[in-house]
Symmetry: C2
Subunit: 411 residues, 2 copies
């Protein structure tokens, strides 16, 4: 991709067509100033500048390629100026690999509509967080949860702040459109996002001159669950001089609906430019969603679940292993059935946790409220997601994508 | 030492006399079935089977030689039978180095008198924890904080439970005599401890036959702050067939008083047997106390502070560096003065934390309530205590003990 010195995206392999599967899946390599990312890849959330329960050396040891910082949280605490003064987020947290920052849009949206995760899964409450003051043409205003001050985030601010944080890949500011709104609201929200995108691109061009290092800009496709709006947003986004794309906003009320919405965005994005651009699916990272997203051409995923599940005492387990309940892809180690279980959390896993301690020990630590439980579970969950993506990549190379997916999900 | 297969204690060096210093200090090596301990050494508290914030591989990487498990906590959760079923505490927690367990006495005492740490520092409240039901000739009875059941711990139970936990070094059950009691109470308490010790030794002899692996028994010297009682307890303890000794109970109301009480115990212990026995100082581990304890012949120390300070946002710093306030030997990273400090926590430290992140970053994590702050600080604090003891050992070899102590404490 021209215009992004230090960056490249190469598709190294496309999927061999298999019965019943789209052939959009692809392997690739994203080159960044901080190293390569083999795609499909999982991006781990270091929300406030820390991957909760895992330090960078451990994340690396468990196969992590790229992490994500949150502009919204970091701008409030410790503040973008401070991050910049400490050499950028890479230096500040001691992670020298590839990094992405979101724009802050997702969190602003969350303030207005309940948590973003709930919204993507269409289970929001109607409670509106009083911290959100306004969203208008200019930008979004909200109260800082750190000191109560009024903060306004305009598209230009988001780019400037992401320059200060210094991630390799940065995103334009969008309004993450809610699920429970009509077509008219979704259309106006999408149009606002597009105008913000143009302002972001202009700011990115200006800011680049004084930047500490090269960065690459991703656009975000919105349009909710409406076919024509998704297409319009896709066409608009694909026409911009982005290095890559992110698929965001409401992805539907069910897993099936999400698959459709994702599919809707993908073909035009892939067809728009002679050179391929990497495509990221925002905030999605279940085992099933990863396989299905890859099948439609998604290159990268992010989700807070690896560390969030760990904080709640849970460990990922391949659903096809037959040990999880109610269709889940994790077990909760607090459950009494693990009290005497002297086997590893995951008999298939080679992580530092599974190769050293038992389910019964982690059960004990969770019950006792020991902080090491979070660490041990987070290490496993990070490794699990990296193993998942390693298997996805291998399946693409080996030409057995459908069988590999079935093995992971159904056993 | 005969009678303890797999164990040995060798004094490799005694201190060259220096002006104003006793010449009891010594370097040595304790051999255990799980490896060697170079003494003087610090023993880290893995209270419930986890060194809070540090996994075994990290503890080892930061120079840790030996850790300590708590009989009182482990017998209640997950229970000694469970620990045994999981292969003992070594296997359960994935630590293959030397290990010690206390007898449970210190915690029983804490229930009766406020926290043991406060008691050693003579700042107890008069609140008596209703969990302690009785201490009598038979043993101690208390309510489990896990399930409310009544538990009785007799000297024989403590030995049996410590056999199940499987540490290399185990301790006899004692009543840890409080500070605010008179000579008469102290004398009766000491006599009870001596009778319990004899029962413990008998049980140790019986239990050894069915034990999973060899263990070594330490006696505990009591007697409070009373010269004649300390001497009586020392004489009694030195006459028993122990592998080593622990100095326990009330150590006085000031640091100076503690030094005196420790000194009182040491000479008779060292003189009692032709072969030297290792001597442990229970629950003491400040920088000053370590130098002074070593000077009087103490070989090992334990203290919860490395991990406890970490949980409260604090990092050890050599007092002589001149950065700590009010005579402390640590800094609290939550303090606003570290907000912009891009230097390492400890400019002299080679730990994984100090070589990768700044004070400002840890300050940010502490302020944000991120769990990684605990981890980063615990790793540093573990390394700090190991560095302290490394310097103590080097000073003994180099014959500059007084100067090295002065450097650490006064700069």
């Amino acid at each position: 991709m021209t215009g992004y010195p230090g960056f490249a995206f190469e598709v190294t392999q496309t999927m061999t067509a298999e019965p019943g599967w789209p052939d959009a899946a692809r392997r690739g390599v994203i080159t960044t100033p901080h190293g390569l990312i083999e795609t499909p890849a999982f991006i781990f959330c270091a929300t406030r500048g820390a991957l909760r329960g895992v330090v960078p050396s451990q994340a690396r040891a468990e196969g992590t390629q790229i992490i994500l910082g949150n502009t919204y949280h970091l701008m409030l605490q410790p503040g973008a100026e401070r991050v910049a003064a400490l050499g950028g987020l890479h230096a500040m947290m001691g992670w020298d690999g590839p990094m992405l920052t979101d724009s802050g849009g997702f969190q602003i949206f969350s303030l207005g509509q309940g948590t973003g995760a709930k919204e993507i899964k269409s289970s929001r409450t109607n409670a509106r967080d009083p911290s959100l003051l306004s969203i208008d043409e200019n930008g979004a205003s909200f109260r800082s949860y750190v000191d109560g001050s009024k903060v306004t985030l305009r598209p230009e601010d988001s780019i400037r702040i992401q320059r200060q944080i210094g991630a390799d890949i940065i995103l334009v500011l969008d309004e993450c459109t809610p699920y429970h709104v009509d077509r008219d609201y979704t259309a106006r929200s999408m149009e606002l996002t597009h105008r913000w995108a143009q302002r972001s691109i202009e700011e990115f061009g200006r800011a680049a001159e004084g930047s500490a290092g090269p960065q690459a800009l991703y656009g975000i496709v919105q349009g909710g669950v409406y076919d024509d709006l998704r297409r319009e947003s896709t066409d608009f986004t694909a026409a911009q001089p982005y290095f890559g794309y992110a698929v965001g906003g409401c992805l539907g009320g069910t897993a099936e609906e999400m698959d459709e919405v994702v599919a809707l965005a993908m073909a035009p994005l892939n067809a728009a430019t002679p050179e391929p651009r990497p495509i990221h699916l925002l905030g999605v990272g279940s085992v099933r969603d990863v396989w299905n997203g890859v099948a439609k051409g998604i290159d990268t995923f992010d989700c807070v679940n690896p560390t969030r599940l760990a904080r709640h005492g849970s460990a990922y387990l391949r659903p096809g292993l037959g040990e999880t309940e109610n269709g889940r892809e994790y077990i909760n180690l607090k459950n009494a059935r693990f009290r005497e279980d002297d086997g590893p959390i995951d008999p298939e896993c080679d992580c530092a946790t599974c190769t050293s301690v038992s389910r019964a020990y982690v059960h004990h630590l969770v019950k006792a409220g020991e902080v090491n439980a979070i660490h041990l579970l987070a290490v496993h969950n990070v490794r699990f997601m990296n193993r998942l993506l390693e298997d996805v990549r291998a399946a693409l190379t080996d030409g057995n994508f459908a069988a590999a997916r079935d093995h992971w999900i159904h056993g």
